[in-house]
Symmetry: C2
Subunit: 119 residues, 2 copies
């Protein structure tokens, strides 16, 4: 799981981490303690989750005395959107090309056999 894209997808595959992102998006920066409060797990577990998000580039942590305010880096989300949209669009295009082919086949009088089509 070396590449950035894999890390981002992996990071968001966990409901707790998605919720962390959601709350940071809604309410802005927060400390680890604040973020951990609503969950039934230890602060350490949340700290681990934040580390995963940080390594994915989704979050950054600065230092303010003994606090470690967590900040959402929303731009990374664009990376995923770009990937997803690219292939969704490609699949769509291929689909409409297929439609065109089918129409063309229907329009042809003699039953033309398409490449690799079952008899």
């Amino acid at each position: 799981m070396a590449d950035q894209l894999s890390r981002v997808f992996q990071a968001l595959a966990d409901p707790t981490r998605r919720d962390l992102v959601a709350r940071l998006a809604a309410s802005g920066d927060a400390t680890v303690g604040e973020l951990a409060a609503p969950y039934a797990v230890s602060v350490q577990a949340v700290s681990k989750h934040l580390k995963v998000l940080e390594e994915a580039g989704l979050v950054s942590r600065s230092r303010d005395a003994q606090r470690r305010p967590v900040h959402l880096e929303a731009e990374v989300l664009d990376l995923m959107t770009a990937w997803i949209e690219r292939y969704r669009r490609q699949a769509e295009e291929r689909f409409s090309r297929l439609d065109a082919v089918l129409e063309e086949m229907a329009a042809t009088e003699s039953p033309a056999r398409a490449e690799g089509e079952a008899s």
Copy 2:
């Protein structure tokens, strides 16, 4: 990892699986053997990957004699896009609200202390 969204993110966290999706988007339906050919792993491993994609709803498999053609279900990608865009937008909005607050603060003559701001 019960919910659909988690399964979809999880499924796409693997480069091989992303590549499978990419190839299905580009070239349309394919058999397991065709899909497995380019990779240095066994057919069984690819079959497992396809199962993960299938359980995430990203792919469906029908039956044609001993072939099991694999088909990309691109609509599920919208689920992710919706999630991502929602929070990206939320973060953006919060950011512009913050800008507004900062401007207002700058406009105020007496140095108003914002909630929780360092002295």
